[in-house]
């Protein structure tokens, strides 16, 4: 028996997903990763059923551009051997299954709940007494940071074990932001509410998550997007990438106390988000993407305006980068700080920008292209060193790349065409959507019931994998370099906590 292979944004009858015994399921999925480095796990989750739990594992094959789906039915009281003991990239997924259903693993190296939702399987575990990894030593000391953040960003607890200024170990405990997005997705029936929910998964990746939701919904409804819709989404994704990357460059400069970079990049972000306001009426792109609609046409006037904005943006952006990359004091902070090796990045299944800076070429725009990406022929930018410097450079390179895409797209506007109406979602379907947000691979999965209603919805933000990359990156670094390491990843708390 083989797993079923589907394309990105394809929906299939749920019954067509082959069901394996746990042993075969285990051998199949761990075998896939082990034999082919181009295969990685994009989602692995359980769906509660009357007679047990159906585990669904989605493995993306980046070479063949397909996603391999397999399933397995288990009873929650059975103690299972864990995937994580063999391959670390399943670690978070298995912890999530453990948290949701109380599934026990015999050899999971780090079996703690990911979050503490109100309907967790084991109510005796409290976030207040989270079992942190600790060390009994006279010389080493622990530093706890959070969950209240010194800045005004989101809550998360970071527990360092340090030898003086040197970090030996970092454990990141999140979950304080849990809002029950996945549950709300199933409880709500109105499409308008569902889209708004998808927009709120991570406030800095509004376009990314909403695109994933829209694509999945359209796929379930059998809706074929028009070129105009694809155009708007691709454009908005790239604009979001430019805006956030530029803002991150500003924040990185702030963290090394480089005031010039901080204020110039900060200023440069504004015209980009202001352009989103001109186009879609909201600087953070809320209300921009709706399934089966193209709410805001990209008119020739907007194209002229965009060219104006980019022509003013590009020279300043390049000049500031030149300044930054030739400033010795800045380079001395960035270089060789927070290194994630290629082996570590691929072992933990890192995705997106963080993976690409460590030499792992993962980019949905090339490997599972959607919307207009097949035409853009995106070339994956890869860096090898995996340090903060690479992540800073990667941001610069991606911004320049995205500006190129925007310019070429603005020169070739789609013609207006009638948009077909959106029907109701089909019955008993399974759909999966992958989108390359600015942070990396976003994966949404949906399952519909007998009336076409959503019975299960699963969101995976790239931060889900990449938080662990941060924890590994700061090992043996100075504790005072933690903030720039953290900022260089700029991971989402709420995207992880859902």
């Amino acid at each position: 028996m083989k797993p079923i292979s589907i394309k990105n944004n394809q929906s299939i009858p749920r019954s067509s997903i082959p069901e394996f015994s746990y042993e075969a399921f285990f051998a199949l999925n761990t075998g896939l990763v082990a034999e082919k480095p181009e295969i990685h796990c994009v989602n692995y989750f359980g769906i509660p059923e009357t007679d047990g739990i159906q585990l669904i594992c989605c493995m993306a094959d980046d070479l063949e551009q397909v996603i391999l789906i397999s399933s397995c039915k288990i009873q929650p009281d059975r103690i299972l051997p864990s995937f994580s003991a063999k391959l670390f990239c399943f670690e978070k997924f298995e912890r999530e299954i453990h948290e949701n259903f109380g599934v026990k693993y015999s050899d999971h190296p780090w079996l703690k709940p990911v979050r503490y939702p109100i309907d967790r399987a084991d109510q005796t575990q409290q976030i207040a007494n989270y079992p942190f990894y600790s060390i009994d030593s006279e010389e080493l000391h622990e530093v706890g940071v959070g969950p209240i953040h010194a800045g005004v960003i989101e809550p998360g607890h970071f527990r360092f074990i340090c030898n003086g200024e040197q970090i030996l170990h970092l454990e990141i405990q999140l979950g304080y932001q849990h809002r029950g997005i996945e549950k709300l997705m199933v409880q709500n029936r109105e499409l308008s509410r569902l889209v708004t929910l998808a927009e709120s998964i991570a406030g800095d990746t509004v376009i990314g998550h909403t695109t994933a939701f829209a694509q999945i919904w359209e796929s379930l409804c059998g809706f074929k997007t028009t070129r105009e819709i694809d155009f708007s989404r691709t454009m908005a994704l790239e604009l979001e990438r430019i805006a956030i990357h530029t803002g991150d460059l500003s924040a990185l400069c702030t963290d090394i106390a480089y005031q010039l970079g901080s204020s110039v990049f900060g200023r440069l972000r504004t015209p980009i988000i202001n352009f989103m306001q001109e186009w879609g009426g909201n600087r953070l792109s809320k209300g921009f993407i709706r399934p089966g609609q193209n709410r805001f046409r990209f008119t020739p006037e907007l194209a002229a305006r965009l060219r104006e904005v980019l022509d003013a943006f590009t020279p300043d952006f390049l000049e500031m980068n030149k300044e930054l990359f030739s400033l010795p004091s800045a380079l001395s902070r960035f270089e060789r700080t927070g290194v994630v090796s290629t082996e570590d990045a691929s072992a933990i299944g890192a995705v997106g920008m963080a993976a690409r800076t460590s030499g792992v070429p993962r980019d949905i725009r090339t490997t599972h292209p959607h919307s207009l990406y097949p035409e853009l022929r995106h070339e994956i930018k890869v860096k090898r060193h995996g340090d903060v410097y690479s992540r800073v450079q990667m941001r610069k390179n991606e911004v320049i790349q995205s500006i190129g895409y925007l310019k070429s797209m603005a020169a070739n506007l789609p013609t207006e065409e009638p948009i077909p109406t959106l029907s109701a979602p089909g019955e008993g379907l399974f759909a999966l959507s992958l989108v390359e947000g600015w942070r990396g691979e976003i994966c949404h999965c949906a399952v519909t019931g007998s009336k076409g209603e959503l019975v299960h919805y699963k969101v995976k933000d790239p931060s889900f994998h990449n938080w662990l990359a941060l924890a590994l990156a700061v090992r043996n670094n100075e504790i005072s370099d933690f903030p720039i390491c953290n900022k260089s990843f700029n991971l989402s708390y709420c995207g992880h906590d859902l």
Binding site: Q259, S329, P483
Partner: protein, 301 residues
């Protein structure tokens, strides 16, 4: 008395000028020059909140810290005019009375029991320890050169005439300026603007202080800056008449504040592990001055 008055006046504007320079350099208008003083006055009108884990040490420390800076201020002369206190070896008193204040701020930080403040305290202790030899070798060389051991006599008898003494004055200015930066936790050693506790040195130590106590600590910081500025000015104004000396004092203080503002605008701060290295460099610069003095005194062939 003259020096005390001048230092107080300079302290009023010093931090404001730094902040204004930084604002202008980043294309913003920035707050008024007197804003830091207004902030302090506001703090002085507030009550203080004490954490339950702290003891009397924490409550005592801000006052001791402030008093130590005021004491240090009293021994600083101004050209020909003596400080309020002047005696042989008063530069040693100057250094150690400041160290006493620092000691209290360090134990107060430890008293809070916070891991952040402990880290900040250990950093602060390390950096002042490294900065100490630089100051003493510098002042010792000057004492050797002039044959006196009190601030006023040393500065009054410094004659900047030959080329080698110009070079020495430049080096001494650099050393004092950098010690002032370290003592006041400015860039590139520390970033006073950051919100990231893990990277702070001085700021993290005073996280638990509030209201009146915080006002005292901030005021002491402003005074300290002007204090070191006054020492630098003293290198140059030995025998100059007062009317020029006073304008030179404000001119140099102003230039120093602008220079600090510009440094903080156009460079990134050091990596924490590079700080000790940088501070030890100051000691070697002081050693250069020492050798210069030996050359002048012809004790060195």
């Amino acid at each position: 008395m003259l020096s005390v008055t001048l230092i107080l006046l300079a302290a009023l504007f010093f931090t404001g000028i730094i902040i204004r320079t930084k604002s202008l350099a980043s294309g913003r208008k920035g707050p008024g020059i007197m804003q830091p003083i207004r902030d302090v006055l506001r703090l002085f009108r507030k009550g203080t909140v004490y954490s339950e884990t702290t003891s009397f040490v924490f409550q005592l420390a801000p006052t001791v810290y402030f008093a130590s800076v005021v004491m240090a201020m009293l021994v600083v002369p101004f050209g020909q005019s003596k400080g309020v206190l002047s005696f042989n070896g008063d530069f040693i008193f100057f250094a150690y009375v400041l160290a006493l204040g620092k000691f209290f701020s360090i134990i107060a930080a430890l008293d809070t029991g916070s891991s952040f403040e402990g880290m900040g305290a250990s950093r602060e202790a390390l950096y002042s320890m490294f900065a100490e030899p630089a100051f003493f070798i510098l002042m010792g060389s000057l004492a050797l050169l002039s044959g006196h051991t009190s601030f006023q006599e040393i500065f009054a008898s410094l004659h900047i005439g030959s080329q080698i003494s110009y070079a020495m004055a430049a080096l001494a200015t650099f050393v004092l300026l950098m010690i002032a930066m370290i003592e006041n936790s400015r860039m590139p050693i520390d970033d006073p603007k950051t919100h990231l506790e893990l990277t702070m040195v001085h700021e993290v130590m005073i996280l638990d202080n509030s209201g009146f106590d915080l006002g005292l600590i901030l005021t002491a910081g402003y005074l300290k800056f002007a204090l070191y500025g006054a020492l630098i000015v003293n290198l140059f104004i030995g025998v100059i008449p007062y009317q020029y000396a006073i304008s030179a004092f404000f001119g140099i203080q102003f230039l120093m504040a602008v220079a600090i503002g510009l440094i903080e605008s156009f460079m990134a701060r050091f990596r924490m592990s590079h700080n000790p290295q940088f501070i030890v460099v100051l000691t070697s610069v002081s050693l250069l001055i020492f050798f210069g003095v030996l050359l002048i005194l012809q004790k060195f062939i």
